[in-house]
């Protein structure tokens, strides 16, 4: 018997088609997986066992149809609005807030037949790279409980890695899907900016935020991405476009593609195993018929600074609405101003406050030109540089992070070192480009390493094609998520 909770969505759909199992059995397996692992991993903030089981039983009765995610259990990051479950952003300030509406992606999941199991942990308001900034609890990396799962979508990545759900939603602002996917040995991607509707995603930095899939392999990732993508009349920044090629056609063929390898990568500070897997990844794409060449990766020198100015500026405004007046937490006070101060003082965690302060500062009169304006100009330059790069290349390959998962607590006291773990992921965010992280191997300590593929605007198809080749060359998925049960990594 398969451990249903360890199968991919596509494998599950296949079993449903062959009537070998049912959605309720799959949901039961996921809930069992959660029961046995959640105590240690702590991936979830809310689990809706009853609701998920009720929906699964309904789907059992309806029988499989053309819905792309029929009966597939899915976890949703807790900064995405759900009308049947609380949505907290892992912040005290939202408390047990339950939105009166569903995010567009939640509707799309439900229309696609998926079963939402629960809401996953994150860094408060998606601000962080370790999920340690959650106001509620720590999420542990299923590969090594002493290590961080990455962040901010650490709960979603850990849940998929630990065999709790086959697929999950994360959100990526500067790497918040790709970095935890890399740390947890799963596949995660963000699309071109606007590809997935942000309606119902509680904003951190509106011009950067993108919801995206986290899965155990590239095909699941592409399948979920297709369900999520499309123009949404409720999000003016969303875009339309063809998605069929993501899951069909030239899936495994990358012959003739031109892949850029960042020119100065030898100088970068990188973990040895990461460096080695990077080199092997470049060889792998070459062996598959790609031509490779050195590319100056745009924005490596300025994207972190640019990112933290723009993201925090937008965040300082986006988070202004949490004031105790209408919903969430309210601290009692004598005057309106005191009420604002007390509520926000008690409701927000340290990192969120730090970013609101930074963001407020860079937008203030007298500093605006020096920081925000310059960051916007830098952003435009980075975009232009990428455009030029993608005239010469179809994709760029580089590690998702310089190092594998770090120890819990290790970087909490040093925000800048935490920020620097985003160095390889922020350029694609700044430029609004599609990028994926695919696990390619493990370090000597047995920690997974993810490789990142970035393509030009609207070219998710290329991202998926190259990612499939990498996945096939390294056999990571077969080795660690075998269909028959335990992941090898657990045995060590």
């Amino acid at each position: 018997m398969h451990d249903l909770a360890r199968l991919t969505a596509i494998e599950l759909l296949d079993l449903y088609k062959r009537r070998e199992t049912t959605p309720s059995e799959a949901v039961r397996a996921c809930l069992d997986g959660i029961d046995s692992k959640e105590g240690v991993v702590g991936a979830f903030l809310h689990i809706d066992a009853e609701g998920a089981m009720a929906r699964a039983l309904r789907l059992d009765g309806e029988g499989i149809d053309g819905r792309p995610l029929f009966g597939v259990p899915v976890a949703v990051k807790d900064n995405i609005c759900t009308s049947t479950m609380p949505t907290t952003c892992a912040s005290r300030i939202l408390g047990s807030y339950q939105p009166p509406y569903d995010a567009t992606v939640v509707r799309r999941l439900e229309d696609a037949g998926a079963v939402i199991i629960g809401k996953t942990n994150l860094d408060e308001f998606a601000m962080g790279s370790s999920t340690e900034n959650s106001a509620f609890h720590t999420t542990r990396n299923p590969w090594d409980e002493s290590r961080a799962p990455g962040g901010s979508s650490g709960g979603s990545a850990a849940a998929v890695a630990a065999g709790m759900v086959p697929i999950a939603l994360g959100s990526d602002t500067g790497g918040s899907i790709r970095q935890p996917a890399s740390f947890c040995g799963v596949t995660g991607m963000k699309g071109t900016y606007g590809r997935v509707s942000r309606y119902g995603l509680i904003a951190f930095a509106s011009s950067l935020d993108q919801i995206g899939p986290i899965a155990r392999d590239v095909d699941d990732c592409a399948l979920l991405m297709r369900v999520l993508s499309g123009k949404d009349p409720l999000d003016s920044t969303s875009i339309s476009g063809e998605t069929e090629s993501w899951t069909t056609g030239t899936a495994g063929n990358i012959e003739g593609l031109r892949v850029g390898v960042p020119l100065r990568s030898p100088e970068w500070e990188m973990d040895g195993a990461v460096r080695e897997l990077f080199a092997r990844s470049v060889s792998a794409v070459m062996e598959s018929g790609c031509t490779t060449g050195s590319a100056e990766l745009p924005g490596m020198d300025k994207s972190i600074a640019c990112y933290y100015i723009i993201a925090n500026a937008e965040a300082s405004s986006n988070l202004a609405r949490f004031d105790g007046v209408r919903y969430g937490m309210r601290s009692d006070a004598e005057t309106l101003i005191r009420m604002y101060e007390e509520t926000r003082g008690e409701g927000f965690g340290a990192e969120v406050k730090r970013r609101i302060l930074l963001g407020t500062y860079v937008l203030s009169s007298g500093y605006y030109d020096r920081y925000y304006s310059r960051a916007r100009r830098a952003r435009a330059e980075i975009k232009d540089d990428f455009k030029k790069i993608f005239e010469e290349f179809d994709a760029i390959i580089l590690p998702t992070t310089p190092e594998p998962a770090f120890e819990l607590g290790e970087r909490l006291a040093d925000p800048v070192s935490m920020y620097l773990s985003d160095i390889f992921t922020t350029p694609a965010s700044i430029a609004g480009l599609p990028a994926i992280s695919v696990p390619v191997g493990v370090t000597g300590d047995g920690l997974p390493v993810g490789m990142q593929i970035i393509a030009g605007e609207g070219r998710e198809d290329i991202v998926f094609r190259v990612a499939r080749v990498l996945q096939g060359s390294f056999g990571f998925v077969e080795r660690y998520y075998s269909r028959s049960g335990e992941r090898e990594g657990d045995e060590r």
Binding site: G200, S206, S236, S317, R321, V325, R326
Partner: protein, 477 residues
């Protein structure tokens, strides 16, 4: 100032609530009123995760306004966030426009008997309205978000105004314009049009501007004038006393006729404007601009000029008749049907406007149509009733909604023009006035009027006066 010691420099910011069916960024009804918090949704409540989508109708109306004011309309404008904390603003930022507003560089000509000025319009931008705070007696406040998200076009003038009277006239003209354009009902008291003023003083001939103060909440024409007068008097007294003017923002208290300081410069907001990342650039396509061109009505100034040329009306008449588009349309229809612009003007200005003023009704429900009034005027011209009787007929038409023919019949006011009938009455009058007839024939010719009066009295006012004259003269010979 009147004494010439100081010159006032005044600029206005006028918020115009646009008459769209739905709010600026969501599909909630934009209509005034409703039970508190019933016309709201996640978007206008600024709930976490909700996103704005621009209402193209509001854009069209603002472009119409900008075009009518001769502005340059930007093909690509940018929404920006204006950040400030206040409980009536649910996102704690307003979505407005900053460095790339929808319209710029317009102009308004003020041209009356005593005022001839050219006021430049700096900009017009779109933004969303806030909710309303309801302060509870005994402490605590409630917020009604029904108004929150209603589209506003903010008109900002250059500091080109010099007197409170000019400011008042400008607002009056803008009110007339937005009503002509059908984009706002222009109700200052209800706040569908709101005016903030900025004023500073300087010595005549100086080009540098003094420190300005802002007054908000001027919600009537009178308040605009009084508020400015009071502020100018306050500032000039300060300057006379050698004091320095502080940059403050005040609220006008109509009841006590004074402004109350709301915040000083130290407390002034740093709004931290930046482009609204939830919205794309606002791009105007040819279709929208074409639509605006085709919907542009004849504007008040042009219409006034045409009324003088086409109908030969006086300046005063045209001012009155073009004040409201509905009235001007009404007049033109009457004038067209009667072919008598002057009589039509008299009737519209005296009877119709008198009735509007005394009943407080508007043209739509006055109960009299341009066709009805035209028919009445034509009946008088044809001699079927007298002008005096016409007023009674008009009254009856307003009262019962009857057409002129029925009203005349109902009141029995049809003029008597038959020779025999009138001769009969004249004879009776002369028989009963032996003495007067004798005196008349002896040369007291002014008694003629007396006989006319008697005949008219006997006919109940219905006798055709010229016929009466004619027959009297014959019979008195």
């Amino acid at each position: 100032m009147r004494d010439g010691k100081y010159e006032a420099v005044i600029g206005l910011e006028i918020h115009v609530q646009l008459l769209t069916a739905t709010k600026l960024f969501c599909a909630c009804p934009a209509e005034f009123g409703g039970e508190p918090n019933t016309r709201v949704c996640p978007v206008c409540l600024g709930l976490p995760g909700a996103l704005p989508v621009v209402n193209r109708e509001a854009v069209r109306m603002a472009v119409l306004l900008g075009t009518a004011l001769g502005c340059d309309v930007r093909r690509r404008s940018v929404f920006a966030r204006k950040n400030y904390f206040y409980p009536d603003c649910p996102r704690n930022y307003q979505i407005s426009m900053f460095d790339k507003p929808l319209c710029e560089n317009g102009v308004v000509e003020l041209d009356t008997d005593d005022i001839h000025s050219r006021i430049r319009i700096e900009r017009i931008h779109l933004e969303d309205d806030s909710g309303k705070l309801i302060h509870q007696r005994g402490g605590g406040s409630l917020v009604d978000f029904n108004r929150c998200g209603v589209p506003l076009a903010e008109i900002v003038t250059k500091p080109d105004l010099r007197t409170p009277a000019e400011a008042r006239l400008l607002v009056k003209q803008l009110r007339q314009l937005v009503r002509y354009l059908g984009i706002c009902d222009g109700n200052l008291e209800e706040g569908s049009m709101r005016c903030d003023v900025n004023v500073s003083l300087r010595k005549p001939g100086e080009s540098e501007l003094g420190t300005k103060t802002e007054i908000k909440n001027l919600n009537s024409f009178k308040a605009i004038e009084l508020g400015l007068e009071a502020e100018i008097a306050r500032q000039s007294a300060m300057l006379d006393a050698g004091k320095v003017i502080e940059q403050v923002t005040s609220l006008w208290d109509s009841q006590h006729r004074e402004s109350v300081v709301m915040r000083s410069k130290e407390e002034a907001h740093d709004y931290r404007y930046f482009r609204e990342p939830d919205l794309e650039d606002l791009v105007l396509d040819d279709e929208l601009l074409e639509n605006v061109r085709s919907l542009m009505p004849e504007l008040p100034g042009e219409r006034k000029k045409r009324f003088i040329d086409q109908y030969g009306l006086s300046d005063y008449e045209t001012v009155v008749l073009t004040a409201e588009m509905e009235l001007a349309d009404f007049y033109e229809e009457v004038a067209g049907l009667t072919g008598d612009p002057k009589a039509s003007s008299n009737w519209v200005m005296r009877e119709v406007m008198g009735e509007l003023n005394s009943t407080g009704r508007d043209l739509g429900n006055l109960g009299i149509s341009p066709q009805g009034l035209a028919e009445l005027i034509n009946q008088i011209a044809a001699g079927r009733i007298s002008g005096t009787a016409g007023k009674d007929v008009f009254g009856e038409m307003v009262r019962s909604g009857a057409n002129p023919g029925d009203a005349i019949a109902l009141l029995g006011l049809e003029q008597l023009s038959g020779d025999d009938e009138i001769a009969d009455m004249v004879e009776k009058v002369l028989e009963a006035s032996d003495g007067e007839v004798k005196r008349y024939r002896e040369g007291e010719k002014k008694l003629f009027g007396y006989f006319v009066g008697q005949v008219m009295k006997m006919s109940g006012g219905r006798a055709n006066p010229s016929k009466v004259n004619e027959i009297l003269k014959k019979l008195l010979l």
